[in-house]
Amino acid sequence: MRFRLTLLLWLLSDLALFVGSYALAYFLRIGWIFSSVFPFGPYIAVAVIVAPLWLLTLISTRTFTLTRPQASTENAIGLVSACVVGVALFALTYFFLFDLFFSRLLLIIAFALSILLTALWHLIFERIARGILWKNPPAFPTLIVGVTRESMRLIELLAKTKNPLCPVAILDAQGTKEKEIHGIPVLGKLDKLEETLVGLRITHLIQCSDLEQSLNLLSACRTRKITYLLLPSVLGIVGRDERIESLEGRAVVMVRPEKGRYALTQ
């Protein structure tokens, strides 16, 4: 519920921000008046009509995934793309409704403002949202499976960035002697899985080792509708150059060490 309200607040604030960016662009271009030559009313009405479409485009870029940092290349590309779509839709809608084109500079200003203000707001909102979702009890209590150096680094990173996936417990099939990792208790081996999933109301499970148990962990997660995540290092992929791709519609993990991240070649 906390997550849904936060997300709803974010989406609504983005809608307002888009309309606000276009309103600000109007005043910056026309001056701080309501022009009778280029009336504000129809202009802002078009911005209101286009805003949901712009938001849908932004949603499709997965910008609102709270587990992903806002300050990332993926998000920047997604935001620019959505704002390009937004300004194009605005110009087209205005033309269809009023049979008019208007100042190209106004469109450029609106486009730039929608990018800048949205990016800035997303950076601010990310901090607010993470604070809300991390607050005890966390919105997404996460179970870490496996004590490895990789999992230790992950736990530290999640805590440092206050990622919504908040580790609350660790299980280790090998029976590590560690009692806690960065303040997160090690509750035992995998025989404690069920009681941990139920007792701590786990919403996410991150497998960091014990590859042979992946099917069983996945099965437990499916049964309890828990989101399962797998660290690529469990598969021996440690180069940070992996990603999930589609091969004839089927998901595959792709590692392409030598080519650029956005290369289109095979």
């Binding site: 995998l190 899985l193 042979e212 148990q213 099917l215 069983n216 099965s219 437990a220």
Partner: protein, 320 residues
């Protein structure tokens, strides 16, 4: 003499197979592992099986299956969780104390597969001298996970030294889960167990420290400590051999089987192939290629290719 079988562990390393059953109750060649052990004990020796509270009912059900020729009695610890368990040696000492045992004890661990004859082992026992069965594992790395036994050079049945899980083992001869503790050493057992309730191997170190002679029975027949997925499969290969073992109500239809395969009660395998697999009860395996897999009760697999997997009870994996 009384046989005392240690079966009170929680076998957390064999999760998920041991999630709802104790390790000695894992099926091996159509019967529970502990049954194979009990059948090797001469019938005139009464057997006490020590287990924990969590698996008590399962052991009681198993007890009903033991042939009447063997006198088996359950000893239930109160512990329901691993953190509460009193330790193997602690459980033994508690039983000795509670029931004022004053006779020799044949001590066995319930999760070991012993290839040798216990009757032969007991025939080498000299009254009053502790006897330990040892096996040459021939691998120093693996030996470091067990208690290692160093024999006297001029008397290879006498133990000169015992090291519990040494980092750098001096020998690959390891202690197995089979020994005789004469009534004379029970006071030492009680004293040692109070300080080290979970260190069975340490008892032999203690005996040697007190200059009490300990004899060794070295055997060459197979021995397996079933503590992991791979050792369980290895024991299965050993017991079942190159054949397909179908339990009552099991059915294999148009499926190619090779190596050691057990299909448990009520399980059905259709099409596909199995190699070195243990399928537990009431499973449905359709068009799957399984290799070195253990599939727990009530799993439903369809169109899957799996290698080296241990599947949890009730797992459903279907590929259209």
């Amino acid at each position: 003499m009384i046989a005392f079988i240690l079966a009170g562990g929680f076998a957390t390393r064999l999760w998920p197979l041991t999630e709802k059953r104790a390790k000695p109750l894992l099926p091996l060649g159509g019967k529970p592992l502990i049954s194979l052990l009990v059948e090797k004990i001469p019938p005139e020796i009464p057997v006490v099986v020590s287990t924990n509270g969590a698996f008590a009912k399962l052991f009681e059900t198993w007890e009903d299956t033991v042939p009447l020729s063997h006198r088996v009695r359950m000893l239930i610890e109160t512990s329901e969780k691993e953190a509460q368990k009193m330790g193997a040696l602690g459980a033994l000492a508690d039983w000795v104390s509670q029931e004022r045992i004053d006779e020799d004890i044949l001590l066995l661990t319930g999760d070991n597969y012993l290839g040798f004859s216990i009757t032969h082992f007991l025939s080498t026992y000299k009254k009053g001298i502790p006897l330990l069965a040892a096996f040459d594992i021939k691998d120093p790395h693996r030996a470091s996970s067990f208690g290692t036994v160093i024999l006297e050079k001029d008397n290879p049945t006498h133990i000169a030294g015992f090291e519990e899980k040494p980092k750098e083992p001096k020998t690959t001869l390891v202690s197995t889960g089979c020994s005789v503790l004469p009534r004379e050493i029970l006071p030492v057992l009680m004293e040692f167990a109070s300080a080290h309730p979970d260190n069975v191997g340490g008892l032999f170190e203690e005996l040697l420290r007190r200059h009490i002679p300990v004899e060794c029975f070295v055997f060459t027949q197979p021995w397996l400590d079933i503590g992991s997925f791979s050792s369980y499969l290895e024991a299965h290969r050993l017991v079942v051999g190159e054949r397909v073992l179908l339990e009552p109500g099991a059915d294999v239809d148009h499926a190619a089987c090779s190596g050691s395969v057990t299909v448990g009660r009520g399980s059905k395998v259709e099409n596909g192939s199995l190699h070195d697999c243990i399928i537990f009860e009431d499973c449905l395996i359709e068009d799957c290629v399984l290799r070195d897999c253990i599939v727990d009760d009530r799993c439903h697999l369809k169109g899957m290719d799996l290698t080296g997997k241990m599947l949890r009870e009730g797992t459903v994996l279907e590929r259209e």
